[in-house]
Symmetry: C2
Subunit: 192 residues, 2 copies
DNA sequence: TATCCGTGTGTACAAGTGTTCACTAATGTG
DNA sequence: CACATTAGTGAACACTTGTACACACGGATA
C-alpha cells in the first residue's frame, strides 16, 4: 500500500498502476502481491480505509485546536492544509478516486466525505452557532463546506508543496469561500 | 478521440487507456494512431479543446433560455444537467482530468473552468443583480458556484443516467447549494 | 496525366503484463 | 519438539503493450 501511494505521489494515476509496478516499487516479487490483495481494486479499497483514519486524525486535531468560535474557519483551514501537505499522497489518492475507475473506491471516498460532513454538522450544533438552521439545512451547509474544501484540495495538490505564495493564495481563497457560505447560512430563509 | 471518449463512457479511466486499446475501439490499426497524436497525453489535450466547445454551447443555451432573473438558478441547473447527460463521456473525461495524470490536461480543464466562471461573472454583472459586490468578490462567488456545480457533476456521473429519482435529488441539492451561495453573496460584507 | 500527401495497413520486435504453481524461510502455538 | 501459518521466491505461461518500418491507396494539385 505504501508503494502504491508512493507512485501516486510521484504523479502517477492510481488507475494506471499495475501489480508488477507496485510490487517492484515495494521491493518484492510480483507474486507476493496476491498474499495481501486480490487485485488493484482491493488495494484501493484498503487505502480508502486508511484514508478514513487520516481524516479522523485531522478532525481530532481540529477539535482540539479550535477552541473559540472566532477564527474557527481560519484555524480549521490551516489545519486542513497542513494535514494535506503532510499526507500529500493520501489526499492525491482521494482526489483521484473521486472520479476513479473503481466504483467501490469512488463510493468509499464519497462515504468518507459524508461522514466528515456529518461530524462537522455535529460540531457546529454543539457550538450553538447555527441554532436558526433546521438539521437538514445544516447538513446541506456542511456538505457544501466539505465539497468546497475538497475542491481546494485539488488546487493545493496541483501546486508544489513548497510554493509558499501559491499555497497562501489557496488558503486565503478557501477561507473566503467558507466565509461566504457561512454568511449565506446565517441569512438562510430569513434573508433568502 | 471518439473512441477514447467511448471507453471513458464505459467506465474506464482515461489514464489507464493504451494506444492499442483506443485504436482497437476505433476500428483501426495501432500505427494509425501516430498519424494524429504523438501520445495519449496529446489526445487528452485535444479532447480538452473540444470540451471547451461543449461548454461554450452550454453557456449559449443558458443565456438564450434564462431570460428573467427569477428562476435563474433553477433554469441554469436544469440546462447544465441536460447537457451533462447528453455529453456524459465528455464530462466524465473532465471530472477525471481534474486529478489526472497529465499536468497539461489538468491545467487545461482548470483553465476552462476559470473561463466559465468569468463568463458567469460577466453575465451577472450585465443583469445588474450584484451591484453591491466588488469585481473581486463577484469573481470569487462565481468561482465557488462553478466549483459546486462541478462537484455536483461528479455526483451526477456517479448515478445511472436514467435513475430519475437520484438525478432529481442531485438537481435539487445543486439548486440549494447555489441559493445558499447567492444568499451569502447578497449579504457579503454588509451582513458578514 | 503525373505527382504529392494524408491516412491507413501488415509485419516485426523487445519489453512488460497478470496469474499459476511448487518451493522455502521465518514465525508463533500445541 | 513438531506443526501449521504466513510472507516471500523463482520459473513459467500466454498475452498485451508501445513503437518502427516499408508499403498501399485515394483525392487534390500542377
Amino acid at each position: 500500500m505504501t508503494a502504491a501511494l508512493t507512485l501516486v505521489g510521484k504523479g502517477r494515476h492510481f488507475a494506471s498502476l499495475g501489480i508488477r509496478e507496485v510490487t517492484r516499487q515495494a521491493g518484492v516479487v510480483p507474486t507476493s502481491f496476491y498474499r495481501h490483495f486480490r487485485n488493484m481494486d482491493d488495494l484501493g479499497l484498503q487505502l480508502v480505509d486508511e484514508l478514513g483514519l487520516v481524516l479522523r486524525r485531522m478532525m481530532r486535531e481540529a477539535r482540539a485546536n479550535v477552541l473559540q468560535a472566532d477564527k474557527l474557519i481560519e484555524e480549521s483551514v490551516a489545519i486542513f492544509i497542513s494535514h494535506a501537505q503532510a499526507n500529500r499522497s493520501f489526499f492525491l489518492f482521494m482526489a483521484q478516486g473521486l472520479a476513479g475507475e473503481s466504483r467501490a473506491v469512488q463510493e468509499g471516498i464519497r462515504s468518507e466525505m459524508r461522514f466528515f460532513a456529518s461530524e462537522l454538522a455535529n460540531d457546529l450544533r454543539r457550538l450553538r452557532l447555527v441554532d436558526h438552521l433546521t438539521d437538514q439545512d445544516l447538513d446541506m451547509t456542511c456538505d457544501l463546506v466539505v465539497r468546497s474544501v475538497a475542491f481546494s484540495l485539488t488546487d493545493l495538490l496541483g501546486v508544489s508543496a513548497d510554493d509558499d505564495y501559491q499555497v497562501e493564495q489557496i488558503r486565503k481563497r478557501t477561507i473566503r469561500f467558507l466565509q461566504l457560505i457561512f454568511v449565506g447560512a446565517a441569512h438562510w430563509q430569513s434573508g433568502g
